[in-house]
């Protein structure tokens, strides 16, 4: 009888490869789960679209509630419906993508998978692993969010102002003109320039914080469920399953809200804000 080990790895395990294992396209269990998530979202979208009526069905009503509530909440963050209309499609898509991925990962279907054989032994690889319990997914979302917010900022306030947010040449350039009137600028301008560089570093920190927060929470949830199941498989994981359902919603919500916040901040002109 072969000894099969169940391990919660910090990375998504490959199920198979497209091409050679070294350098080929790995199809991991998290990618597989993401495909299922995409399929579920597409299916729901098609159903909603096909059954769209003036008098809504239950599913349409549910989507209308989310849409309407989401728009209202986004208005509070962005401060204007105009900005909300531009950012909301990305935020709501992030919310659904993360939510469905989070929930699929905690489905009690952990018994389905394959056994891989290696020198270290035989390992069980489940088919389902939440897409967001893979840093590749969360990193992709964070990068899209941060790059998207900067592109949005460029479109809203222009390239030069956006550039000066991160490399504040304007502050340094103002020194010769203002130094006689205000000698303190010799101190203030370099500090302003340095702060702008910190803003640039902050953009990378945003990517790290967004991706690792989501990944950490969801992966920790899966580890928690696996640990509880290992302690007592019957009954004990149930309250934690409910907790993870809740955590899934909260994390999806936080990610979407942060995307909205980053886009809103990027679209604000700091100088105009300070002047006003």
């Amino acid at each position: 009888m072969e000894n099969i080990q169940h391990e919660n790895t910090i990375f998504a395990e490959p199920i198979f490869y497209i091409g050679p294992p070294a350098g080929g396209w790995p199809i991991t269990n998290s990618l597989l789960t993401s495909w299922v998530a995409v399929f579920v979202i597409v299916l729901l979208s098609v159903i909603v679209r096909k059954k769209m009526r003036n008098i809504p069905s239950r599913l349409q009503h549910f989507f209308e509630l989310i849409y309407d509530g989401g728009m209202d909440m986004a208005d509070q963050i962005t401060g204007s419906r105009k900005t909300t209309k531009k950012v909301f499609p990305l935020a709501i898509s992030v919310f659904f993508f993360v939510l469905v991925n989070n929930w699929l990962g905690i489905l009690p279907l952990g018994g389905f998978g394959i056994v891989t054989h290696s020198a270290e032994g035989n390992f069980f690889v489940p088919f389902l692993r939440s897409g967001t319990a893979d840093i590749n997914t969360t990193l992709m979302l964070a990068v899209i969010g941060v790059i998207g917010s900067n592109i949005f900022g460029i479109m809203a306030i222009g390239v030069w102002k956006m550039f000066n947010k991160y490399v504040n040449l304007k502050a340094l350039g103002a020194i010769p003109g203002k130094v006689r009137r205000d000698p303190a600028i010799l101190m203030v301008a370099p500090i302003t320039f340095f702060v702008s560089i910190l803003e640039l570093v902050g953009e990378f920190a945003k990517v790290a914080s967004l991706s690792f927060r989501l990944f950490g929470n969801i992966f920790a949830g899966e580890v928690l469920l696996a640990s509880m199941a290992a302690l007592l498989a019957y009954g004990l994981p149930i309250p934690f399953l409910f907790l993870e359902v809740f955590v899934g919603v909260i994390q999806a919500f936080i990610f979407a809200v942060l995307i909205l916040v980053y886009f809103t901040i990027a679209a604000q002109d700091h100088e105009a804000h300070e002047t006003s």
């Binding site: 998504a12 990618l31 597409v42 728009m71 992030v94 659904f96 993508f97 840093i135 990193l139």
Partner: protein, 166 residues
């Protein structure tokens, strides 16, 4: 950085694959479902707002019409009352006038009757006197037979008539 990549198995293949997944989600969820849904909700909201606005207008119109109806009704009542008063007054006047006329006519008829009766009475009396005189003459002639002349007869008759008249 390398240890981070190897620890978490960061793989650009997977990042691209997940990005494709996410782009599919955006395209399908937003452009296929939520955008048309938002449009439908906006249109429905406009229809409802229009309906409410219309209902408000109808209500105002109804109120105005009710006020107009009440005013018209009050005016009609007032006019009807005035007409009734006028008619009553007219009728009273007419009644009084008719009564007076009727009384006058009755009085005139009675007077005419009286006058006619008096005249007929006088005529009858005259006729009766004449007849009586003739009767007296005839009776006297029979009484006196030939003892009396026509002159005497006439004198006797006149005398009798005078007596009768007195």
């Amino acid at each position: 950085m390398d240890s981070l990549i190897s620890t978490f198995h960061i793989d650009w293949h997977l990042i691209i694959a997940q990005a494709v997944n996410f782009v599919v989600v955006i395209l399908v969820l937003w452009h296929f479902a939520l955008k048309p849904l938002g449009k439908l909700m906006d249109e429905r909201g406009k229809t409802i707002a229009g309906g409410l606005d219309n209902a408000k207008k109808q209500e105002e119109l109804l109120k105005a019409q009710k006020a107009e109806y009440d005013a018209t009704l009050a005016q009609a009542r007032s006019e009807a009352s005035a007409i009734m008063q006028s008619i009553k007054k007219e009728a009273e006047t007419k009644r009084t006038s008719m009564l007076t006329t009727a009384e006058d006519e009755v009085k005139a008829t009675i007077d005419a009757g009286r006058r006619q009766l008096e005249s007929e009475k006088q005529k009858m009396l005259a006729d009766a006197k004449t007849e009586l005189a003739e009767l007296v003459i005839q009776v006297s002639a029979k009484v006196f037979e030939e003892g009396m002349t026509p002159k005497i007869d006439h004198a006797v008759v006149v005398e009798n008539i005078k007596t009768l008249n007195s």
